[in-house]
Amino acid sequence: MNTSLRNLTIKSFHDGLVKKKFSALEIAKEFFKRIASTNEDIGAYLSLNEERALSDAEALDFAIGEGEKIGLLAGVPLAIKDNILIKGLPATAASKILEHYRASYDASVITKLKNERAVFLGKTNMDEFAMGSSTENSAFKIAKNPHDRTRVPGGSSGGSAVAVASNLAVAALGSDTFGSIREPSSFCGVVGLKPTYGAVSRSGLIAMASSMDQIGPITKTVEDAAILFRAIAGKDRLDATSVETESENFENAHQDELRSLTIGLPEEYFVGGLSKEVSSEIDQVIEKFKALKFVFKKISLPHTKYAIPTYYLSMPAEVSSNLARFDGIRYARNLKLSAEGGSASGGKTENLKLEEIYLKQRGAGFGPEVKRRIILGTFVLSSGYYDAYYEKAQRARALIKQDFDEAFADVDVILSPVAPTPAFKIGEKIDDPLAMYLSDVFTGPTNLAGLPAISIPTKPSSMLAPKELPVGFQLIGKHFREADILGLGQLYEEIK
């Protein structure tokens, strides 16, 4: 078989499968071979699903041989972020506290993809509990940027972005709470979509900040992102915040309505702090859209500078509640410790014993950034500080959303950078939490406002100069208008 995994997209995989250029099993085997030789160094996967993936692929090939009609995602080898549950497989969220955990049910997105007969290659590396912007907070291994292995792939969905960028999967799922799909996509030169809050079910996603978390696709092309998004979107009775999205043909970029969209440029996103590389790339993107006769308008999102403090007050509060369930008993870091605690005999100290289990298991099971956020969240929710911090942030969040509401009265789509810089060096920001937080300054506001946004490489990886790092641009759409940003993204991909 001479099929290169390099340019294999969901679309080209499907075409090849239907035309019998290859079988699903052959491709799956080829991926595992490649993973075996490269994953140890690049750190994309935390665990593999080889046995089941191969048998699923084989079963699909058999069904095709029997004449069964298949959908676009049938047999497509996917990488899944390790905070999304696949029944029977590990779901560590890159945390030691979940080292021994095996998922007892499928996330709703996984159920949908199983119905499409997609193939899951494995679970990908990430920042612990999705907390971070570089994947350096993984408790298990460092992930490296395929374009320069001394640099981070971004985070927190770093492993998923690396898997797609280095051809260790055709496409992947990530999750995005403040930029965790889009920033690594920008750093690795792939496409990443953060859907509207509520567009995709969160059931079976290990919760970080529930009011902002969304699952979304990381792919090689915008068309693939559209295909994968359509497969996972929709109302789910297991997530009360999910909503039915209009069933649109996201893959069709040739709609006249697209041409009439007005694009907004937020002045607050094009000021100090933006690196020269990013700035000149974004200018070229704007020029290309202008050449297509798109109308641009300057807009203002005046509360942008409050987005990071607002997030770092709201999110830890949700984190401290969501991570309380990791009690060190049901989810044990040290199984022996739990068992010993459980075997303690009677007496007055027993109350303490239980508390000791919590303290020790959680103390040893969570990494520094997770602890920082739990403590900060406990602080902002505590009596006396709640109004000053947590409620203040909730009000600021309303103002940030209002900015977007007002801007979207004038424009249909907003164009901006994804991150202020290309990928930074491994170790560069890990000791400075605030510097790390600033990586999310352009992506985070859309999570606070619940809007859909996509990161698209400014140019294909094949057109990067030697040593040049990939950069992504961001398109932000109105609520539930994924069709607009996916459509514009596909138009862009066609012109370059």
């Binding site: 009360a240 007055k348 303290l359 602890k371 000053a388 409620e391 103002l399 209002q402 999570n447």
Partner: protein, 125 residues
């Protein structure tokens, strides 16, 4: 002074004792080194939140969801299949499908002696 309105409470920066208290509330065991680091990091992060102070938020209502959510109603009917029991295999110790833990209350409080008194929690809670 982080926020003007509650100056008295906020005037003193976060202390080592605050960190220790919060860690206890959050059920996190911290080493002395971790406490020191946490104090340094949190003081810096909280100072960064000063920026919000300058913002007038009196005319908006707090936003708690990702979008402006509305109540969703449905018929209160049994949904059939649940996942009950699926997590039991992962428990370090279990009895009759319940998680076994050390007693929550002391024996003097009237509960049964020994580990049998372990308050059982359903795995789904």
């Amino acid at each position: 002074m982080f926020i003007d309105t509650i100056e008295t409470k906020m005037a003193s920066p976060i202390t080592k004792e605050t960190i220790q208290h919060l860690a206890k509330l959050a059920r996190l065991e911290l080493t002395p080194n971790e406490e020191k680091q946490m104090l340094a990091d949190l003081s810096k992060i909280l100072a960064y939140f000063d920026e919000l102070q300058t913002l007038d938020t009196s005319r908006v209502r707090p936003m708690t969801g990702g979008t402006t959510l509305k109540n969703v109603f449905r018929e209160d009917t049994a949904a059939g299949e649940t996942n009950r029991g699926a997590g039991v295999n992962a428990f370090p110790e279990s009895k009759d499908g319940f998680l076994k833990i050390p007693p929550v209350f002391s024996a003097e409080g009237g509960s049964l002696p020994g580990r049998q008194a372990g308050a059982s929690g359903e795995e789904t809670t």
